[in-house]
């Protein structure tokens, strides 16, 4: 990226070292299914799925093992063929223990597929029900059930679908590889999403550090008059929904509102691939594509694994850890979750596993705030992190609410940029939870 980049963007943000070179040019590898998979019943935002199998049941890869339990929930399929060993609490990548179905796998050669649908003739309703039946959740990190996003209230007018190809987190290259290796499928996924929503216009937003992906996608949309590739400045958090919409369409999503309130639906590149595979191949979402990277792993890779594969199996497959490895993070280094148990399994929405070294992981010493304003300068949402932190520390939640603490999306840009090493977003995260609880208590009082 260049300092004088003329590409569209948003106000604020930072540009951490990218470290994409570790995996940017490595094609996806398919990792063999492990002997045991651990399938959490909560892999999505919303209600946990209800298991429909029991101990000692025989299951086939692609078979439904847990049903959706509400509007915002998702169905789960078995990623392997084998025997259900048990259903119990296991540590998960979220940091919380979760009810999991444990399956001992045997033969994985063949997967139960749904009927293939024709991309030209399939109806919007059929696309939506297929996305629901395939258990697709958003691949951008939040794991929101995708079919819900494709079923907006009838009075909502949506005019744009934006595919998020920013991948603004350092290290991660999954979406980049998808666009390079499977550009046609990305485009078909986008077209299916547009068709399901009845939307005419589509945009694929890509940061300017992904030359190969930009070239591939530009080539493929040449014959599509209603779909454009928009090159965006490489800057974190360009891939945040609000920042992406601002950069591409110059629309601002107000606090507490959703992208659909300004006429947009955002989908991740990985989600477009999943939608394409579910419709055209009848595949349920039983695999996760991810980047395994970081300075503490021997062989960084882009790999496709079965959902439920424990982290340590993947780390071993990637050559194991280096001696100075100290921290394992699921997701990107800016918003990912650090892990305490390497037996935690990969879920549908996992986009990366990073191994950071001692040098990177060691916390910096906090020094007093000098009011330099560097947190305010970079906050993409116009907040005052230093003040919010002070309010949070002093339990001044009314004040924190007045200063819009709940608008914070916890991107971590302020903490990254703070020269005093103050854990700003960490304090804000805490304060935000307390303010939300305070608001709920007020409502019920």
């Amino acid at each position: 990226m260049s300092f004088f980049s003329s590409f569209k963007t948003f106000k604020g943000g930072v540009h951490p070292s990218e470290f994409k070179e570790f995996t940017q040019n490595l094609p996806f590898e398919i990792m063999p299914a492990p002997a045991i998979v651990i399938i959490p019943l909560t892999q999505h935002i919303g209600k946990p799925a209800n298991p429909v199998v029991k101990k000692k049941d025989e299951v086939k890869a692609g078979q439904v093992i847990a049903e959706s339990s509400g509007f915002i929930s998702s169905v789960i399929h078995s990623p392997v063929s084998g025997i259900v060993k048990d259903i119990h609490l296991e540590p998960t990548i979220s940091g919380f223990p979760n009810e999991c179905i444990i399956i001992q796998s045997n033969d994985n050669s063949d997967i139960d597929l749904m009927p293939q649908l024709d991309i030209e003739t399939v109806s919007p309703d059929d696309i939506i029900s297929r996305v629901r039946d395939a258990g697709i959740v958003g691949q951008g990190g939040a794991a929101f059930p995708t079919y819900v996003k494709l079923s907006p209230p009838a009075d909502t007018k949506i005019d744009y679908v934006i595919l998020n190809g920013c991948e603004c987190e350092p290290y991660l290259t999954r979406d980049d590889r998808y666009m390079i290796e499977r550009s046609t499928d990305v485009l078909n996924g986008l077209k299916l999403i547009m068709k399901a929503l009845g939307v005419k216009k589509g945009v694929i937003g890509i940061e300017d550090n992904k030359n190969q992906a930009i070239k591939a996608m530009r080539e493929i949309v040449r014959s599509e008059p209603d779909i454009e590739v928009e090159i965006l400045k490489t800057k974190y958090p360009q891939g945040a929904e609000k920042m992406l919409i601002k950069a591409v369409l110059n629309r601002e999503v107000p606090p507490g509102k959703l992208p659909m309130d300004v006429g947009c639906v955002i989908q991740n590149i990985g989600t477009a691939i999943a939608v394409n595979d579910a419709v055209t191949k009848g595949e349920p979402q039983i695999t996760a594509a991810l980047t395994v990277s970081g300075k503490g792993i021997n062989n960084p890779k882009n790999i496709i694994v079965r959902v439920g594969t424990p982290l340590n199996e993947i780390l071993n497959y990637c050559g194991g850890l280096k001696d100075d490895a100290a921290k394992i993070v699921v997701g990107g280094p800016m918003m990912g979750v650090s892990q305490f148990d390497v037996n935690a399994p990969v879920t549908k929405a996992t986009s990366g596993i990073l191994v950071l070294t001692k040098k990177e992981a060691n916390a910096h010493t906090e020094t007093p705030c000098l009011n330099c304003g560097k947190c305010i300068e970079v906050c993409p949402l116009g907040l005052v992190p230093t003040k919010l932190t002070r309010f949070s520390k002093l339990n001044m939640y009314e004040k924190a609410d007045e200063f819009s603490i709940t608008t914070c999306m916890e991107c971590g840009t302020c903490t990254y940029n703070c020269p005093a090493n103050i854990p700003l977003v960490q304090w804000i995260r805490l304060g935000k939870k307390k303010v939300i609880r305070m608001q709920k208590e007020k409502m019920s009082a």
Binding site: P255, N316, K327, L354, G373, S404, T407, P419
Partner: protein, 322 residues
């Protein structure tokens, strides 16, 4: 292969995101400021002689000793390698008259750290720029030595009065612009060479340590306000370029007003702060009893910073502008 995945007794580092940090921290930034002041130090030696180094060392040493003693009395952790007391000492010495008394320098340094910083609770909590507090005290306590100017050692021009501002104010004499740019004029130890100040200041802006908005706002304000008077009566009032290069204006713009602790938090606030400082400088220089007003203008505006912060909160993304 590392033991973490094989051994059950592994220990992983846990932390809430983000897991990476920019390469900058306060300590590095402070030492960069010290580095950026070196051109001004060198210029002072060239123009006023090697003795100025002694004043600088006394000032820095007195600041460090005061910091350590007060931290001991307050039973707080002593941190002096963060460079902040060194900066205060350097800044104070550079805004004193050349060949200033060493004992008075030390007194100024004690006041700068003691009253300017530590009584407020130490680094980060002070309202006023400590170095300027020290100088303001010296100005009040020793008015005559504080306005006794030694001319540069190899001055070619004969000046009827010591500093360009005093010459302008009391004798209506305008100093040659080239001398003012290089620093071959009467004035405070580190303030005379615009060139040296610009080298250090632009370096700090390029490194992202000081915010470009404050010096830019001050320059814009200065050219605007002094320009208005100059256009009204060019014979009576000096031109804007003279005003920019004279006295402590440039030094104040890059090294005093940009102090993180005592300047506003927001971009809009920085603009307001810088422009108002210049307005006050022009008012004091043209209509006040003193020839120079940068110190008082910055101290005065320091007091308004909390208010400026309150009224310049950024617009929350997605909310209508208020």
């Amino acid at each position: 292969m590392n033991s973490i995945t094989e051994n059950t007794d592994y220990k992983l580092e846990l932390a809430s995101s983000p897991h990476i940090h920019s390469r900058w921290n306060t300590r590095q930034a402070m030492w960069m400021v010290v580095l950026a002041l070196l051109p001004a130090v060198i210029a002072s030696v060239i123009f006023f002689g090697i003795y100025q180094i002694v004043i600088i060392i006394v000032s820095v040493a007195a600041c460090l000793v005061t910091e350590v003693l007060i931290k001991k009395i307050r039973k707080r952790k002593i941190i002096i390698d963060d460079g902040s007391a060194v900066i205060t000492g350097l800044l104070l010495s550079l805004i004193l008259p050349p060949n200033f008394s060493l004992s008075s320098t030390a007194i100024g340094a004690v006041i700068a750290i003691g009253i300017g910083k530590e009584v407020f609770g130490g680094i980060g909590y002070n309202i006023f720029n400590p170095a300027l507090v020290g100088r303001a005290f010296l100005q009040a306590a020793f008015p005559v030595p504080m306005t006794t100017w030694t001319l540069p050692e190899n001055t070619i021009d004969s000046l009827s009065s010591a500093t360009p501002l005093a010459a302008m104010k009391f004798d209506n004499v305008i100093t040659k612009p080239l001398n003012m740019f290089l620093g071959n004029i009467g004035g405070s130890i580190g303030e005379t060479s615009a060139l040296a100040i610009l080298i250090g200041g632009l370096f700090l802006i390029a490194a992202g340590i000081i915010n470009w908005r404050i010096p830019t706002a001050m320059l814009t304000g200065m050219i605007l306000f002094s320009g208005i008077f100059w256009l009204i009566d060019p014979l009576k009032y000096p031109d804007p370029l003279f005003q920019v290069f004279a006295g402590g204006f440039l030094f104040g713009s890059f090294f005093m007003a940009t102090d993180w602790v005592t300047s506003p938090l927001t971009s809009k606030g920085m603009w307001i702060y810088g422009i108002l400082i210049s307005l006050m400088v022009v008012a004091i220089r043209l209509f006040g009893g003193l020839p120079e007003g940068v110190m008082y203008a910055i101290l005065f505006m320091n007091a308004f910073v909390p208010m400026i912060n309150k009224f310049t909160r950024p617009r929350v993304f997605g909310e209508a502008a208020k």
